[in-house]
């Protein structure tokens, strides 16, 4: 039998070592990023891309969004742009925006590259586009926190109304309810369009959507450059995708860039 004091000692040791176990990949990521940045400064963009991709692979993609991965993806975008692959850069920026949707650096570079390529603004013009951009300005996690914050406010206001009553309390409750609904909108937006794997067409002149995974198959529709599609399956160098209009078909994988990291 292990004595109680030893059990406690092992437990304490475990608690002390646990953060170290988690911090090791972070340190590796930082080391790789440092090397990648040095390669980038030397103009060795392929080397920088490889190193940043290695750093990216060390993070757990299933764990939601993180600023670190947003920065890595942004740097990959810069490397792609400098290497003369502006559409691939746009894909990396799009992936980075999933983690940091309000980041000024990412938005600037995305808009810059789109402008240089003669592409229309990503967010569009008009009131509707502005409102949609506002809803997209929060990650799923942030939108959940916002929604819960609104709910907490409403709980306070309803509690006050239940305990005290009166016109002021009722008004506060209505106000809090309105605020809660408003704060829930980004969350509702994510519920209606849940985040999921996506890829961007990075061929300069777009790509055909084929009925089968071969180049001489029937072309179903033309996919425009920077159009987003949902990857469904892979077969050799082909990817089966679903377009926003719901049409499914095959696209050559080299014409796509995954943006789900």
């Amino acid at each position: 039998m292990v004595s109680f004091s030893k059990q406690v000692l092992v437990l304490l040791l475990g608690c002390w070592l646990l953060p170290l176990a988690f911090s090791a990949p972070v340190q590796d990521q930082e080391r790789l990023s440092q090397e990648a940045e040095e390669a980038y400064r030397r103009g060795e963009y392929e080397q920088a891309t490889t190193l940043w991709q290695d750093a990216l692979a060390l993070s757990n993609a299933e764990a939601g969004t993180s600023a670190l991965r947003g920065h890595l993806l942004y740097n990959l975008g810069n490397a792609a742009e400098r290497a003369g692959e502006p559409l691939r850069a746009l894909a990396w920026y799009q992936a980075a925006l999933r983690h940091l949707p309000r980041d000024g650096h990412i938005r600037h570079n995305r808009d810059f590259v789109r402008g240089a390529q003669g592409l229309p603004p990503a967010d569009g013009d008009g009131l509707g586009a502005t409102l949609r951009a506002g809803l997209r300005a929060f990650t799923p996690a942030e939108s959940a926190w916002l929604a819960y914050g609104g709910l907490a406010l409403l709980a306070l206001a309803l509690g006050y109304e239940a305990l005290r009553g009166g016109r002021t309390a009722r008004r506060l409750a209505w106000l809090a309810a309105g605020l809660a609904v408003l704060l829930a909108l980004p969350r509702v937006r994510w519920m209606l369009a849940p985040p999921g794997p996506a890829a961007m067409v990075i061929a300069e002149h777009g790509s055909s959507l084929y009925s089968e995974p071969r180049g001489d198959a029937q072309s179903l529709v033309k996919l425009e450059a920077t159009e987003l599609v949902e990857p469904l399956d892979h077969w050799n160098d082909w990817t089966r995708v679903r377009t926003r209009s719901g049409q499914e078909g095959w696209v050559s994988s080299v014409r796509l860039q995954d943006i789900w990291y």
Binding site: V26, A63, H71, L72, P140, A144, W145, L151, L163
Partner: protein
Amino acid sequence: MHACIPQTHPGSVAGLTRRFRLAWSLLLACLLLPLAHAQDSVTAKANLSTGLARLGETVQIQVTVENDNRAEIRGVPQVPGLRFGAVMGPSISSFMESTGGRMVTRSMLRWAIPVEATEVGEFTLPELTVWVGGQERNVKITPSTLKVVKDVQADELGLLELPNLPTTVYEGQPFELRLRVGWVRRLNVRKASLTLPWWNSLPGMMQVKGPGFQPQTGQVQPLMVNGDFDLPFEVRPDEDLRGEPFRVFEFRTTVIATRSGRLDFATSTFMFAEEVGGQRSRFTQPSYREYYATVPAFSIDVLRVPEKGRPLEWGGAVGELTAERKVSSRDVSAGESMQLEVTWTGMANVEFFDTPDLKKLDSFSGFRVLGHEDSNIGMERRVVYDLVPLSDEVTQVPPVPLWIFDPATAAFKKIETEPVPIRVTGGGDLNLDAAFGPEQENNGGGRDLMDLLPVAGVQAGSQAASGKWYFAGWAGLLLGWLVLRKAVRRHGDPDSVLARARRRALRDLDRALAGSGEPLPMAHAVQRFLAQRSGEPAAAWVGRDPVVWAQQHGASEAGCKAAERLNALLGQLDAAAFARSAQTPARGELLAAAKDFAREVHA
């Protein structure tokens, strides 16, 4: 067997009934006849307001349809020399009319179609197609001819000119468009407007952006154009024309023909109206005499810029330009950024030509061109180049060339800025890529990518928050609120006067004790406190024992002790007030006892 046939007799009851039925049928027929007639009487008429008009004058076709509220005018006729405006209306009016002793409702739809005379001559108006009674009907316009004559008086009394317009221009060549209008000074002109059918409608002709026309006299008179917008006309000094002083107004702008072909300017009309008919009063509308001065239609040929002799470097500049330059510093270090500002000014298409790309010029091989900022105001184009001299061997900023097409000579020519002598010091092993980033062929007009983002020290963990309990949270919250609300209201309305008084009893006591140090008011304040807590009038607590009250309301031991303490303090206050010998309890002591009482004893 005999059939039973009733025999009617003129004087019998059956005979009378038959006559009555006959009379009733006749009466009904008389009543319904006008109604049936009324239902059929859908009419449509079209009248021209006059058969004689002056050139530029607008007349109207009045279209009236009776008894069909769904009538429509589908399209207006096209007559060369006349311009039909948009159909205005319909205005709907309805009225009751007595027809054959019955009241019948009639309705009338009215439209107005403005017709402007743009050429002199006699024009036959075709029939107007009106959708009436569920079918198309051609309605004759009366009178069916419109005679348009020139307004001779307007030519004498008014002024409308478009002076010095070229007859041919090259595509991209700007030219000045001047509009001069006016009238004899002796006329009491109250209204004036312009009809310029070609304004904003000529394909490929556009106004040059910029600060616009700057009036020299400082006085500006807006004039309505095409019934749609105002143009600012400068009020010019009076001029002697045709032996009489004229009031003159002038508008100037610069326009560019951007595509080859012919610009057809339709007849322009200047309407001015003098007030006539004596003194204007509050009860009389002024009447006007209108004049229509016109400029006949004309055209300008727009020629292609010739291919012959066109240099490869030509970026589309057409016109007359001069080039100026200046630099931000003449004494710079190698690797240090400096600005070269080049300004091209003149009567040319400054908005539209491509400025020289210094990266492509061999003469600028001694510089790294980081980017440029491009702007234009009026007839001036300004580009600020960001340059970095690469070594101390660079001694000057070379001339910046620009190829332009000169319409006057119909040939291409090159203009250049003067070179700028500079002194470059230092140099050595410059790492410009590290300082300014890798060189780009096209960096989007002075903008560039933002630099890398740091990775070290950035939050690596996930911000993941699940929202799956969110809607359950809403439901739980609403349910909890309802339950809590019901539970609270089982003891009465929390917003009632008594409940609110009970809640603020301690605050009121604190305030009352702070306002007075005398024992009697303090005792009254404590009694008021007890009254607010118990929901009774303050008089009920005069001489009443709080301990008994607390016991009656099932207070705990602690509650009874708090009541005893408060009772003792009340006794001290009474003694101090009436015996004037005992010491008044401290305010803090009273408040602490009241707080304990409020916490432990509940009514």
